[in-house]
Amino acid sequence: MEDVAIRIVDLQKSFGEQKVLDGINLEVETGKITVIIGKSGGGKSVLLKNVIGLIKPDSGEIWIDGVETSNLAERDMNSIRMKFGMLFQEAALFDSMDLFDNVAFPLREHTKMSEKEIERAVEERLKQVGLSGFSEKMPSELSGGMRKRVGLARALVLDPEIILFDEPTSALDPIISLTILDLIKQTQTYFRKTYLVISHDILGMFRIADKVAMLYDGKIIEFGTPHDIKRSSNEATKEFLKATKIPGFAGGDL
């Protein structure tokens, strides 16, 4: 794998009259956590869906591990998708299956592992996300934070090269958010895979990001380390940071 896992060149996408992505240029480094920050409804999810091929761009290029994927046929795109794992916003667990079957599902469909090997792999993943012993629970019996942890276990189970995160901390309380962020950081430190995260939770993301990209008005207006972003002179970035400050409280002093 080269140094850049995902390279996005001049990506454009409109829905009707509304221009959502207006020339995105971004390089996601291999083995790092890159976070795309932007306001809700600003096109972050659309960008992520373009990367994984759920939406086709109007124009521009998406290079994944040296392959241009924006015009690939579904069958070729599927071989690219095998490099990916994804944690969805609401985890998107299959609610007809229990936790074990959810995590085992990619293994059963894509590998020839025996049930015994699958059992071992699933238990190990569930243990990594702190949910061993829960494997017979159904997704509807879990809290939002637990569902996300199972979603992470499922995303990691095939050892993908790149893992995408869609708003990993949204709709979670601050403490659960923190455990999810720690889990993201821990697994990344352990496996050294490429993580691409989209979020509007700027403070949380500074805890885990190696690189931060600011998405504003359909463009990436800033790209750098969390340190660079904190010192940014860009008005839009400053406004975003200012909105998260609560004077006198932790996190208020950036």
Binding site: K49, I52, G53, L54, N78, S79, R81, M82, F84, M86, F88, Q89, E90, A92, L93, F94, D95, F105, P106, E109, H110
Partner: protein, 259 residues
């Protein structure tokens, strides 16, 4: 006062929308056929749907069949009695059930029960990104979600129809022979004389077609749901309404081709 604004009415926009939708359903049907015959075959998914569509619908289909047969016997008895043709009640019930009411009523009942649930389940999977999750895992959602339902409906609707035909004739027998006192021999002989195997077969072919129609429309409506919980509700309603109407229209077309 009338508004001075010009009224823009485009009678064609609704027609083009409907045609577009018909085209998308056709495309989904082709993809479903393609995926049905492509390895790996998901037999356990199909069996699970066969249980849901077939086994779990049997009670409602039996109740519908029995009472339809009973009321047919009652109605036709009063008509035939006027010219002494009570003996034809059995044949009337048998022909009506096998050719028409068995397949159509079964399809409508199963649409209400299983079609609505297919649309709601797939719709929920769409809005909670479970269908996207399958795609991201490099798996074809049509193969995992639509093929099992359409294949199961195609197989189970004829089976349910046979049950409905049978219990309908039994219901007619109970009312005609046991309650209204029609001669048992005449009742059964007329059935044997007038009912051909072709009548039953054509009814079953219709049932298989209805199975494809309702399951495909219900899956389509669920699969392309948008707009959260409200969207799921809308898809479910549309699935049942469109399926039922399509069953009745295609029933006429199939009947005119067959008999």
């Amino acid at each position: 006062m009338y508004s001075k604004k010009p009224i823009h009415l485009n009678p064609f926009s609704r027609i083009t929308e409907a045609l577009k939708e018909l085209g998308s359903i056709g495309a989904m049907f082709l993809e479903t056929i393609h995926q049905t015959f492509r390895k790996p075959f998901k037999l356990n998914y199909i069996l699970k749907q066969m249980e849901f569509i077939g086994v779990n619908s049997s009670v409602i289909v039996i109740i519908t069949g029995v009472f339809t047969g009973m009321v047919l016997a009652l109605q036709s008895y009063h008509g035939f009695r006027k010219f002494g043709g009570e003996g034809l009640v059995g044949a009337t019930v048998a022909l009506s059930m096998t050719r028409e009411l068995g397949p159509v009523l079964t399809a409508l009942m199963v649409t209400g029960r299983a079609g609505s649930s297919m649309a709601a389940e797939l719709g929920t999977m769409r809005v909670t990104e479970q269908i996207d999750a399958l795609t991201v895992m490099a798996l074809n959602p049509i193969k995992y979600l639509v093929v099992p339902r359409v294949v199961a409906a195609f197989i189970m609707l004829p089976v349910l129809t046979i049950i409905a035909d049978f219990v309908g004739i039994i219901g007619g027998y109970i009312v005609g022979v046991k309650l209204l006192g029609i001669n048992e021999g005449a009742f059964i002989n007329k059935i044997i004389k007038h009912l051909d195997l072709e009548d039953i077969n054509n009814g079953l072919i219709k049932a298989a077609c209805f199975g494809i129609i309702f399951s495909l429309i219900s899956c389509y409506k669920g699969f392309y749901t948008s707009g959260g919980a409200e969207g799921v509700g809308k898809s479910t309603t549309e699935a049942v309404v469109f399926s039922s109407v399509s069953i009745l229209i295609s029933d006429y077309v199939l009947t005119s081709l067959m008999f």
